[in-house]
């Protein structure tokens, strides 16, 4: 077993020291030991209850050089950290829906709330936040934004990046900073939503977000088709995507199909929605474009969709998110030898190895996938690595030199003390 590499900071405080220092600010009862996967992310967990408390914690961390990181369900942070930070900041007590205006179709929410909670709050107005990360109930809004989670619906609704219209975060010196606002169209000031999106906790602690929400379609259905080969599956997917405004379009390899309870080698699932007339019309088109397809209506379609959305790679030795121009994806996946669940219209796929693999094979597979993604002007990010691979397997690709220099300047400007989730983002940021 390889061990975790040491953090760059010199003396690592003990849990008791952190609890004493931070507990003096927010109260000892707000500091607790990590639970379950949090242990790989942080030595101690603080649970502040207000923006001001987060700000005080950040100031204390800067003063004492205590490394900190936001922790939602700790799924991402426990993966990307090589060694735990001293202090995880959980917003479990900051999970309130701040404002929901169904007629304006906007919703402001504290970052500790889950995507599932948001969608239960908007359901009665027949609206939703159309982002679908794996296990929406276990994905906090902070994590949705900071770790760029997305799911099948990105084909029709985009990602959190497209829906986020306002943000508040606690940055350097405990400054509470906001960008954007609460209106659906707004170009006042620099776009701090984009800067914080996908920043993996390295620039500050997101405490509140405002989103556009969308109407829930009246009817939902899905077409399901099994294929003997990947080529036929991707051909069918392309025909459907060219012809119809699908809600989602997933292509599953045999292992992924099996995990979703489907008994076919390669599977295409195309979601479509709208009024009764629109759904019927789309099904008619699909039947002609993919004669093998079977119609799944309402709950049956929803159940399969949820299984694909929630695909769990925790037993796989390795899983990664690859992205490239959409038309390149089929060939790249077929060459890769990997199992996959592909958002086919988007050029984005989760690739993984099924079953036991030794480190050498994992290393070879990842470097092959990385090269292939790069050759297609795309990129790759590890979403699951076995703990034994932490020491040698990088989560992120390395950006081009020029872009990386700007990113390092951004990090230095927003986090001069270097306390926000240091050392595990691109280029060692």
């Amino acid at each position: 077993m390889s061990s975790s590499s040491p953090s760059p900071s010199a003396a690592r405080p003990t849990r008791d020291e952190i609890a004493a220092r931070i507990g003096a600010i927010v109260g000892r009862d707000r500091i607790r030991p990590p639970r379950g996967p949090e242990a790989a992310a942080a030595i101690a967990i603080a649970e502040p209850a207000a923006d001001g408390e987060v700000a005080e914690i950040v100031r204390a961390c800067e003063a004492d050089r205590i490394e900190t990181a936001p922790i939602g369900a700790a799924r991402t942070m426990s993966q990307i950290r090589r060694a735990p930070v001293a202090l995880g900041i959980s917003l479990a007590r900051m999970a309130r829906i701040v404002a929901y205006e169904p007629a304006d179709m906007t919703l402001a929410v504290q970052a500790g709330a889950s995507v599932g909670e948001v969608n239960r709050a908007t359901d009665s107005a027949r609206q939703h936040l159309p982002v679908d990360p794996r296990n929406p109930d276990a994905t906090t809004i902070g994590s949705l934004i900071a770790a760029s989670h997305s799911g099948p619906l990105r084909l029709s609704e985009g990602t959190a990046r497209d829906l986020l219209i306002g943000i508040r975060y606690v940055g350097r010196e405990g400054r509470i900073v906001k960008g954007g606002g609460r209106v659906v169209k707004n170009v006042a000031g620099y776009d701090l939503m984009k800067v914080m999106g996908g920043s993996f906790g390295t620039l500050g602690i997101i405490v509140e977000a405002t989103f556009k929400v969308r109407p829930i379609p009246e009817h939902r259905a899905a077409a399901f088709a099994g294929f003997g080969g990947a080529g036929d599956a991707f051909d069918a997917a392309r025909r459907l995507n060219d012809a119809l405004p699908l809600s989602y379009l997933e292509v599953l390899s045999p292992a992924a199909a099996h995990m979703c309870g489907c008994d076919a080698a390669f599977v295409v699932v195309a979601g479509f929605s709208g009024s009764r007339g629109e759904v019927d019309d789309q099904w008619n088109s699909i039947r002609h474009l993919a004669p093998a397809a079977r119609l799944l209506e309402a709950s049956e379609a929803d159940a399969l969709y949820a299984r694909i959305r929630d695909l769990d790679f925790s037993t796989a030795p390795i899983a990664a998110l690859v992205a490239m121009p959409p038309a390149e994806l089929a060939a790249a996946l077929m060459e890769s030898g990997a199992e996959f669940a592909a958002h086919a219209g988007c050029g984005v796929a989760k690739v993984f190895l099924a079953g036991a693999h030794d480190e050498t094979r994992v290393a070879q597979a990842i470097s092959r996938w990385r090269r292939r993604a790069r050759a297609a002007r795309g990129n790759l990010r590890i979403i699951r690595r076995d703990p034994s691979m932490r020491a040698w397997l990088d989560i992120f690709d390395t950006p081009d030199d020029g872009a990386l220099r700007l990113m390092k300047r951004l990090k230095a400007a927003f986090d001069p003390a270097g306390i926000f989730n240091p050392g595990c983002f691109v280029g060692g940021i």
Partner: protein, 486 residues
Amino acid sequence: MHDVNPPLPDASFDRSLARELEAIVGPDGIVSRPSELRVYECDGWTIEKNAPDLLVMPRTTEQVSAVLKALWHRGVAFVPRGAGTGLSGGALPVNAPVMICTSRMNRIVAIDLPNRRVEVESGVVNLHVTNAVKNDRFFYAPDPSSQQACTIGGNIAENSGGPHTLKYGVTTNHVLGLTLVLPDGEVVELGGPAEERCGYDLVGAVVGAEGTAGIVTRAILRIVREPEDHRTMLAVFADVEAATRAVSSIIASGIVPGAIEMMDQLIIRAVEEAFHVGLPGDAGAVLIIELDGLSAGLDEYVSRVIAIARDAGASEVRIARNETERAGLWKARKRAFGAVGRLAPNYATQDGVVPRTRLPDILRAITEVSRRHGLAIGNVFHAGDGNIHPIVLYDERDPRQVRAAVEAGREILAACVEMGGSLTGEHGIGVEKQAEMPLLFSPEDLIAMTELRHVFDPMERSNPNKVIPRPGSCVEVAAPRRQVPV
């Protein structure tokens, strides 16, 4: 490498600098005669004017890089310009002697239909992107009213919108990759044709930065499949209140139209006199509503929208029967600003946002501002997303009216912010709204934004004195000289 202490500008820089830049871009790429530079003294924000000392028109990324290096070493600031159709003074030189115009970088570099991407140079005109792909049933979604003239580079600077962004999103939702020349001349590639990024979203930071991050020379754009079919309607109302009620009800019903645009009585009359498209001259307000999507669903949605509009008080709802009628309606909408030119010697177009449900309140507030200042104000705007465009009519020969026009604009913006809205939905802050930024943002917010800007432009050489207000260096409101058509 960055020159940490670049030399201060030399008073005699102009002639030797002009020679140096001419060697880079060629004699036809330089304008230095004051009479010719007058053309570039302002953009669509015509209340302030200031011509550059030198205009440079590079043709390639390499030339832009060489030009910026030359300026960097002399400590000279520059202002980027596309077509000059911006409405907030983003292309107004303020302590920036050199203007860099991207209009000669106008090649569509690659059209990649299977991947739904188009790569363009930044001087390409917005509409030319759609024209290049429309035979294959694709379009480029952001469609500002100036789309026949404005450039992709300008759209990127301002994060431009347009009527169809209600459904399809604004510029930032459609730009995936950029080639950016930093103020010191370094060329960086940001993002790429994939939907996911590697590292921070620097593309998202540059889009909407109003030209303060350097010069964008290329962009990878996403194009969108044309909807199978569309229906364009004109709904006629006795007043704007009834029309805004209809807007809220349509949205609340779960229908997402391609666009919902409103024109009030003053605009309707101006447009009708100018273009004779058959708008009812006695209407208090009209809505142009476009539904798009699958043919199969459209007629049902049309019936629902008609019912909602009638419930809200529409006296008439017409459906465009063919492409000519549809084009007529959109021509009326997109040329409304031009038509207004007949009503008064000058006009200033404002751009504010309120939550959709506050549209009746902001329109009442605008009526009150109009009455108080004795200036006519017309309204033509993107009702679906609460993005208002009051057009303040004035006569620049009367200094009182000029002051009143500026004041009226400020009061309207303050009312927008008061109602939970924003200072600008799509035109940008530029110089026009710098003074209002503190209404929306705290000092901490503005510091963070400045720090972000400095990541790209630590010396503030690219479009200085824009966006962020600078205490103690208030921009003078110059005496206006003439009106430039928008």
